[in-house]
Symmetry: C2
Subunit: 543 residues, 2 copies
């Protein structure tokens, strides 16, 4: 062969690949596979970071998003938040280095979890426009703001600072402004508008304003004025541990003995379970953690996974909450005639706690001859793409929707005027790709989703059958009313009582019925049975 290479020649070609180079070439893995999506991703990553920061700092989020059109396919996205700000030294790394952040190493529900998001936007921006990203940041101890212009040195995966100065602050108390120029396309559907509307549903305590490039301003107001309870950081649970992780934990533990290591470095363990595990693993409780040999670690791991240990603590989760979700659905879909939400008890997957919430809005402006609209969320972030790969869709497909009063042919998506919201809250969401658009379809997760949907479905079904019954009664009442004169005559003949009196009483019964019905509708009462009207019923009789 002419071009055949020896091992030595091949060796000369071996090279390190920086993570920035890798994602620059594989930008579709980060969600930058088309211009509409790219623009939405830029807003999404900035807003997600703002929401995370506000919550951690205990600040009610107030976020403004501005879109400026530079040319038909080029935009400047500016996101301004009222979060705690970022200390000067951290600004370059947070925006200018992939795989850097505060969330990857902590087990705790948050929007970000990879340390890739916003720096990926910076990467895409410089790839498509060459422009540096501009950042203003101010903490409440600073008088002036930090101003940085930067790009990413892709070959090194390090920030390259173009400008760095102190400036008069455009930020009031504290917060961050990030301004990024990139190639993109602006569309309402599956774009910024949809993303923000859905974000507002899952984050009812955030106030978000969006100024489009034509100057039109959309406000997504709060429907709740209080921050949710903060999720707490949890230690890893013994059931979710793998050999390599345990090895590393043992090597770096500050605990002096194996027993204290087991009791202190994990969640849900204590002195007793530590002792039990050591006995089961035939290991001395006083052993120094870092001294364990491979076979001993194997035994320890196996004992940990067989031991009876409580489920992990659930305060690392921060669900939207049933009432809050109902409120925000009613706010965003004001015309819908019915909205409910259920929050299931948390469950555990490989040592990771997670919790599913489902909301259903019905009727109003929603179209009854189209497929149901599905809004998917993970840790309060809307999932806008890759629905086909998502656990939520698996769960939805496995439901017999006819049971809950919706039309469905075969295994197709149900048809009806319904918005279905599914939210997964977890300390670690298993996404199918770095772009975090779909939840991996693990059986435990699908199962919990199905149970939640069924729960909400039953409530919808009760409402719909109540509605059907009310319709039937209404029709019977109308017939009754139409024949009331004839009936009064007949009753007069049968009973001998005064015909006018009978007619008056009949009319009163009808009016009374109608009033009852209206009251019940106003109260949003959907499930209660109303007894069928019986002829000759006494006026004012209560059921």
């Amino acid at each position: 062969m002419i071009m055949a290479k020896t091992a030595e020649e091949l060796a000369a070609l071996q090279k390190e690949i920086s993570i920035s180079e890798f994602f620059e070439k594989n930008k579709h893995l980060l969600g930058f596979d088309n211009p509409t999506k790219a623009l939405m991703m830029a807003v999404k990553e900035a807003v997600d970071n703002s929401l995370d920061a506000c919550e951690e700092a205990g600040i009610l989020p107030e976020i403004s998003v501005k879109l400026k059109s530079v040319s038909e396919d080029r935009f400047i996205v500016t996101v301004h938040d009222n979060g705690p700000g970022i200390v000067k030294e951290q600004v370059p790394k947070i925006f200018g280095k992939l795989l850097y952040g505060s969330k990857f190493h902590r087990l705790r529900q948050s929007r970000g979890q990879q340390g890739i998001g916003i720096s990926a936007v910076v990467l895409y921006s410089q790839l498509t426009t060459g422009k540096p990203t501009r950042i203003w940041a101010k903490t409440n101890t600073q008088k002036k703001a930090t101003y940085v212009e930067l790009v990413i040195d892709t070959l090194k995966n390090e920030p390259k600072i173009v400008k760095d100065e102190e400036v008069e602050s455009p930020i009031k108390d504290s917060g961050v402004i990030v301004s990024i120029e990139l190639t993109g396309r602006y569309r309402k559907v599956q774009g910024i508008d949809d993303y923000l509307k859905q974000t507002s549903i899952a984050n009812p305590y955030a106030r978000i304003t969006f100024t489009a490039s034509d100057g039109v301003k959309t406000i997504f107001p709060r429907s709740v004025n209080e921050l949710p309870k903060q999720p707490k950081e949890m230690l890893p649970h013994p059931y979710g541990i793998e050999f390599g992780i345990l090895l590393r934990m043992l090597a770096s533990s500050k605990s002096r003995t194996l027993a204290t290591f087991i009791a202190n470095d994990f969640s849900s363990t204590g002195a007793q379970s530590a002792k039990d595990i050591c006995v089961a693993a035939k290991l001395d409780t006083q052993k120094i953690p870092s001294s364990l040999m491979r076979e001993e670690i194997d035994a320890l791991l196996s004992a940990m996974q067989r031991a009876k240990i409580q489920r992990p603590p659930l305060d690392c989760l921060s669900p939207i909450g049933g009432k809050e979700l109902e409120k925000s659905m009613k706010k965003e879909y004001p015309s819908s005639e019915f909205a409910i939400a259920v929050t299931r008890e948390p469950s555990v997957y490989r040592g990771n706690p997670f919790q599913i919430e489902v909301g259903i809005a019905y009727g109003g402006d929603l179209k009854s001859d189209e497929q149901m609209t599905i809004l998917r969320f993970a840790n309060r972030v809307p999932l806008m793409y890759q629905a086909g790969a998502c656990a939520t869709m698996e769960a939805i497909k496995e439901i017999e929707w006819k049971r809950y009063g919706l039309q469905q042919s075969g295994n197709n998506m149900p048809v009806g005027p319904v918005i279905l919201v599914i939210h997964m809250a977890s300390a670690w969401v298993p996404f199918v790709s770095e772009s975090k658009e779909a939840i991996a379809p693990y059986p435990d997760i699908i199962k919990e989703m199905k149970l939640s949907i069924q729960d909400a479905g039953r409530q919808l079904s009760r409402y719909l059958s109540g509605k059907r019954r009310t319709g039937d009664q209404q029709r019977r009442l109308q017939i009754f009313e139409r024949y009331s004169v004839e009936m009064a005559t007949a009753l007069h003949v049968l009973t001998g009582k005064d015909e006018k009196d009978i007619l008056k009483k009949l009319k009163e019964i009808i009016e009374n019925r109608n009033r009852l019905k209206e009251a019940s509708q106003k109260a949003g009462d959907t499930g209660e049975e109303v007894a069928p009207l019986a002829v000759g019923e006494e006026k004012g009789e209560e059921e």
Copy 2:
């Protein structure tokens, strides 16, 4: 809020995340999401590397895969190749560092393209078993073999060498042996066996043996004894360039002027196109490449993408080849009655050349009441999972299979005794995830796939209608034979010729027909029309 954090407190939590840590936690992104798949991935990554190395060194691949069961869910995978080997210094990095390799920076068809594969297997192995990976490597200039035992230091993403010595070589001339212990599950379907069978189809010049843990040996022999033409490395094509890449190329170019930069650093450009591009961009041809300002780069990029430039060279591709694919399909599906393959002309997507090949095998042991079997390949590597996300499936769905003689209800997969092979060869395959299981459904790629399938489909259709016609003729011939005596009598009466003579001639006609038919079947001749038999036709008349 009790737990509220200041910007300073948040800063203390910011940390770098190593790529190894990232993929350790996100191992499902690399394809390690279930035990069966994990075991298959280990074999796949090792075999893909072996095939790449053999081809680059011009060696006919001879690969042995051995599986040893340690316990029910733990295996040792050993892959031994006859490639060029690896020089001592490179062994640790190739196996013990993610994002390291020779293929990422070169535009040229190869199986590996990310520098993640085999090190991901090492990562998964140590995560699940803690055992180091063992590697023997020998180049043909070495007398002894290099032996290394290593793990990955996940926090640094660097190899950690456990043992490193020269040993008596278990390798004959040159090659690599890698032995990895990991948690997994052994299943035939979508496991090692399927992967190797399919690999053998797409790499007909490779000889592969597989020894399962029960000692049973399967041999996948060669069906072709020659290596394919080596794909050449190509320079980037101007149509596939983005701002950030152009900026970097300008900064690091060895060309002294803009004109030579355009002519030499890209594929399909020359002195004239360089001049034209400079004129269109209103840039001096003599400018020093690294001196261009942002606006000038913008103008250059835009001019490059508007200029008339030839398509990129196609010798960076190495398709399987129609005949080779047919041969290997016949080898792996010997009972099938019909097999064809088509290789389309290469096409270009965003400056990247790619080429689609399609093969169809029909009948034999294949089941006629089941969905068609689809084998997907990218750069000769079988794609075993995530079919739903793959461009191939999109293309298949858009085909009206009834046209080609197969049953299909609605948009479902067609039903019939068919194996459909689709291969995409490209210098850069856009995979939907790092695990490289599905090709991103870009319209240009889907279109080429559809055209290729239609091409192969027409051949299938011709074969099937030929077969149907032959069946009809056969039936008519049988009837003719059954009544030949009566017919001879009748003809004798009508013509007055000798009855025995007539019967003899009739029999000759029938035999002749049958011989013709058999010959045509043997030659695999499918498309030719056979004229319907006419009574009284002369013996021996050729069509």
